[in-house]
Symmetry: C2
Subunit: 164 residues, 2 copies
């Protein structure tokens, strides 16, 4: 329902540029998940990076509540916002990705390259990337919602969000 009654602008090159710019520069994201016992939402904070193919990735611990929820229900929403808004933060662009989480198995052939790529983007995580409870997770983008400021809302799909 919601998107149908929210006035949306036609997605254009400017909207795509704002969205891919947010994805390309983000270092953190706020993931929302649905707690299985209650069906209620839960929002937390994760480190955010990009795989070589441009897919969003993260490194999360089994000790964190969001990780435990994602193992049961891989549906998530990732908020990506400009890091230091000045003035009215409601006037600044922010992007919501609707995603599905895919855990990278420890023995996956792709893992070593992803790990090096992650460390290049998040060098401080070298302190714990090797811990047994930490896992790389790839997010498959389903759709997205961009709010580029007052009255500037857009619906985007994964083809609008390719970061190369």
């Amino acid at each position: 329902m919601a998107d149908k009654v929210t006035p949306l602008r036609e997605t254009d090159a400017e909207a795509r540029a704002i969205a891919t710019g947010l994805i390309a520069t983000a270092r953190i994201a706020a993931p929302g998940v649905v707690e299985p016992e209650t069906g209620a939402p839960f929002v937390s904070q994760i480190a955010f990076g990009l795989a070589p193919d441009g897919a969003p990735i993260t490194l999360i611990s089994d000790l964190a509540l969001h990780t435990q929820v994602l193992r049961q229900d891989p549906r998530a929403s990732l908020l990506i916002a400009a890091p230091k808004p000045r003035g009215d933060p409601m006037a600044h662009p922010r992007l919501t990705l609707r995603v599905r989480a895919h855990f990278i198995p420890d023995d996956a052939p792709e893992r070593p390259a992803l790990r090096e790529d992650w460390l290049a983007q998040h060098p401080k995580s070298r302190l714990y990337v090797g811990f047994a409870d930490f896992h790389l997770v790839r997010f498959e983008i389903l759709t997205a919602h961009l709010n580029a400021g007052f009255g500037k809302a857009y619906a985007l799909d994964r083809n609008d969000l390719k970061v190369t």
Copy 2:
């Protein structure tokens, strides 16, 4: 399940001080809601303030997806994080509130005082606070989860979070 297997520290005065400090200084929050058609999570960004009694409040538009969802399902989760983390953002404190949204009716006796209080905290919203589609919403805190940095997770209840 999740909280049960997440190692939690005993909630102490330091944890309460970190949590209430985040609430008292936050100007924005990332609310998570559950989209009714799909049951999937959706995270966005809202302005954040406090009512005179210390309850979190916001000002949101009927045109926004989160507002439309909250009218159908008032369960939300609010992420509050330090605005400008330096170094590894995963080492910085962030607080997740589990809340229930209560829309303040336009003719509620408490509304004029709440509105003035809101404007004192968010003066730039004077430009649109009077628009018919904007509504003040009070969030009733149910429980909370504080992550104060690596290995420092706490479960809190509303009595731990009183901002005075």
